[in-house]
Each structure stands twice: as C-alpha cells, then as structure tokens.
Symmetry: C2
Subunit: 254 residues, 2 copies
C-alpha cells in the first residue's frame, strides 16, 4: 500500500527560511515521519527559501538568461512565444523553468541552483531532526513531448533510488528484464502532485510505502534522470532541426 | 490522503477472459470498491483478454505493422535498432508498444485496439457488479524525450477526468492559472506503477482519494492526452528532421 498525503500549515516561504524547520514543524502537527518515508517538496518553496526570486519585469529576459541551449520554439497566432530550452540543470523545460505564477508582480522565480544539493540538505536535516531515515524529492511541473498537459517530475533527489533496479530480475516467463528502467522518482513526484494541488498552499507531501527505495544520501540524484543531449533523439525540435539541415544542404557542394 | 494498492490474486489472463469478473473477484477477496475509486489496469492483461497476442517470431515485423509514422530511430553500436513510432492509437512509443516480455516465446503482444473503449467496458462492468461509481485507467510503460527511464502513463480512460480543470482558479496572488493543465490520469498511472511492480503478477491497482476526478463514462478518454503530430514540436527526431531538411536544401534552387 502506498499512502501519500500533503502536509498542512506550511507558511508562505521567504528567502533564508529554514525548510527543515518549516517541514519539521508541519510534521509535528500531524503524522510523524517513519523510516522509509519520502518527503516530496515542490521546487517553488526551495527556490523561495534560497532567494531565487528575481526582480524582473521581463520574464522573457529571465528565460534567456536561464537558457543553456534552445531546443525548440513556437509562436502562437496571437504572437505568444513558447520556448523549450535546456536550463543550467540540463533539464529540458518550457520557459527554462522560470516561474511567474505564485510570485509577486514584477518578479520571477528561478529553479534552485542545485536541487540535488538542496534535497541532500533537507534530507540530512529531517533525518537529524526526526530520527527517521527518510528520502527527499524536489519536484517541478514539466510538459512533455507527444502528450498534452504536464505532470510533476523529480528535479532533485537525495536518499532515494531514482530508478528501480530490475537488474537480475526476470519476467514471468523467466527472461531477464533488461530494457525497462522505471523512473520511480518521477512516479513518486507525480503521485505527490495528486495531493498537493496547484492552487492550494500545500507544497510538501509525504509518500509512504516504498521504503525499499530509501537509501544513503549520496545515491545518484535527479541529475542522473536527465538524458544528455548527445544521447537524446529529441535534443532539438523538428522544425529547428529541419531548418538546420536545410541551411546545411543549401550550401553543400553539388 | 491518496491510497494506492495492488489487487492480489489476479490469475494469468487468457484470450476471452472476462476482466470485470477477474478484477471483481480479486476485489471481493480484499478491500471493497467505493464511490470515487479509480481502478488502474495494466494494458498487458487487457491485450491478453482481447486476444492481441500474435504468433510472430519477428518482433521487428510486428512493430512495422503497428507503425503509422516513424518518429525516430537509432542503431546502437551493437546493431540493435530502436524505433520510436506513432502507433495506430496516436501514441508515440518505443517499438510501437509491441511487447515481447511476459509473453510466450515466439509471440508478441499488441496494445488493445481501442483502450478507451476497453476502459469504458471495464468501468461499466465494475460499476454494475460492485455498485460503486468507479473510474478506470489502462496504462502502459512509456519512455520519454529528455529523461532516462520509463514511467507508466494512461493510454485508456473511462469515467475519469484525465486533466485537472484549473480554469477559473487563481494562484495565491489571485492571478488566473491559465497555462497549467495537470494530466492527472498520467499521474495516477504513475502512482499505480509504484505498487504494481514490473516482475510481479499484480497488474491491477486501486487509487483512492481523488473521487473528485471520477465522473461519467463518456468523459473524454486518454486519446485526448495524445498531442496531434501537427501541434507537436517533437513530432520527428532531431536527426531525421535534419536529414529531411538537408535533402530539401540540396535540391532547392540556388
């Protein structure tokens, strides 16, 4: 049985706030954490605590500053430009993960600088405070290729196996399960979104029931989920790649 | 609180089996279904019940037959070809969703012909049998662009709002939440995978705690999650689009 619930009473987070204290206090008002629990934290409050709120009237400028590589862009009939970019974390996301919702007017919120490090810090703090051997995921809401809508995914992880290790296991016919590598961190991030909600102030959830996934704080983080561009068949939008090819073909010697 | 658990004792499924009966019997041995529960069924057993097991020694041939459109392909140094294709359901998936794991040697399993219809049939049957107003999702394990590993996603849905409707809701600053469209069906599919597991014979899970997402059987199905290729910035692999552009550029008049 997997149980997932949101913590109530996490206040509005400000720069410098101690998330371990805020989360720990919220836990103290409800169900205590136990060994194997996974605490799932919306990146927004991590960014706020780390002071990643920037004064910027120009969200587009902030997106440009957070762009390592333009993957694809599209202009809507109304003139709205959507940019899918690789951000400094290697994550491919619309608007580079720059967020202007739930932030004061005239400001934008950048993703945490190193979400795996943030997760390690929160996990270490919660382990020390509660005595429970917990893991921590930091999540963001991400769009996808080929499918409409968004789902929450893990952008930071500590003390959690982000992939289920099926090596050595076999299917019901006795053949090795080689290809499948379930990204359990993303699955837990998605599950947590179902209880956190988007408009409510419930940025932290707890997932209980997969204690087998919780381990040492130096396990590979969510960075290991990011597929390097050179191995990615979709490292560039179809229109952009076509245009690149067209330009190269034009100048190729006949 | 979201609770997700797998049903125990679902037997090996054969063509013609009545999934409502198999799932209903498994429910009867455990926790009864209540209004608002969402039953999450691995597509593999739907395919098996619907006789989608094909005798085929050549999986590649079966993939070709299930290919509406080649999206991208890559050959590994060892000569293994990975094909990402759009299948007849519009779903972009590696190997078109053709499955050769957990099937007898010399056979492959195709996806259900119409997973939304399959979901409607199972949901109608379970509602009649149990008296509980439940929804049904049918899931498959899908890879993603940009991120390693796979997560379970919804390929069939009935009686479930596949997207959370945030229209009219505002963020904490009072601004409308317009862009975000959480794909809750995919999030529930992902959550269910955490209890079903890949190697165990637990192909059905129940998710309880989001009764607000359960509705009429004629709600839009999982087909509505599929982004039409013409609106998809990643409708073609980067290498393939580049090659198309290059070829077009070569023959363009100078």
């Amino acid at each position: 049985m997997l149980q997932v619930w949101a913590l109530e009473g996490i206040p509005e987070v400000s720069p410098g706030d101690d998330l371990v204290a805020l989360i720990g206090d919220a836990v103290d008002r409800g169900e205590p954490l136990v060994d194997g629990d996974i605490v799932v934290v919306t990146s927004k409050i991590v960014s706020k605590a780390e002071g990643r709120l920037l004064r910027s009237d120009d969200r587009e400028e902030a997106i440009t500053a957070q762009t390592v590589r333009l993957v694809a862009s599209r202009t809507s009939p109304a003139g709205h430009v959507t940019r899918i970019v690789e951000n400094p974390l290697g994550i491919v996301a619309a608007a580079a993960g720059v967020d202007a919702s739930n932030t004061p007017d005239g400001t934008v919120l950048l993703l945490p600088e190193d979400p795996d490090a943030s997760a390690r810090s929160i996990a270490a703090g919660l382990r020390e405070r509660t005595g429970a051997h917990v893991g921590v995921l930091i999540t963001d809401t991400l769009g996808r290729a080929w499918r409409e809508g968004q789902i929450d995914q893990a952008i930071g992880a500590a003390g959690v196996h982000v992939f289920e290790d099926l090596r050595g296991q076999t299917d019901a016919e006795g053949r090795p399960l080689v290809v499948t590598q379930p990204c359990v961190a993303d699955e837990i991030a998605a599950a947590a979104d179902l209880v956190k909600g988007k408009s409510s102030r419930m940025p932290v959830a707890v997932a209980r029931g997969r204690a087998d996934l919780v381990g040492a704080l130096d396990l590979p983080g969510a960075r290991s989920i990011v597929r390097p561009a050179e191995r990615d068949m979709f490292r560039r939008g179809a229109d952009e790649a076509y245009a690149d090819g067209y330009a190269a073909g034009r100048i190729a010697p006949h």
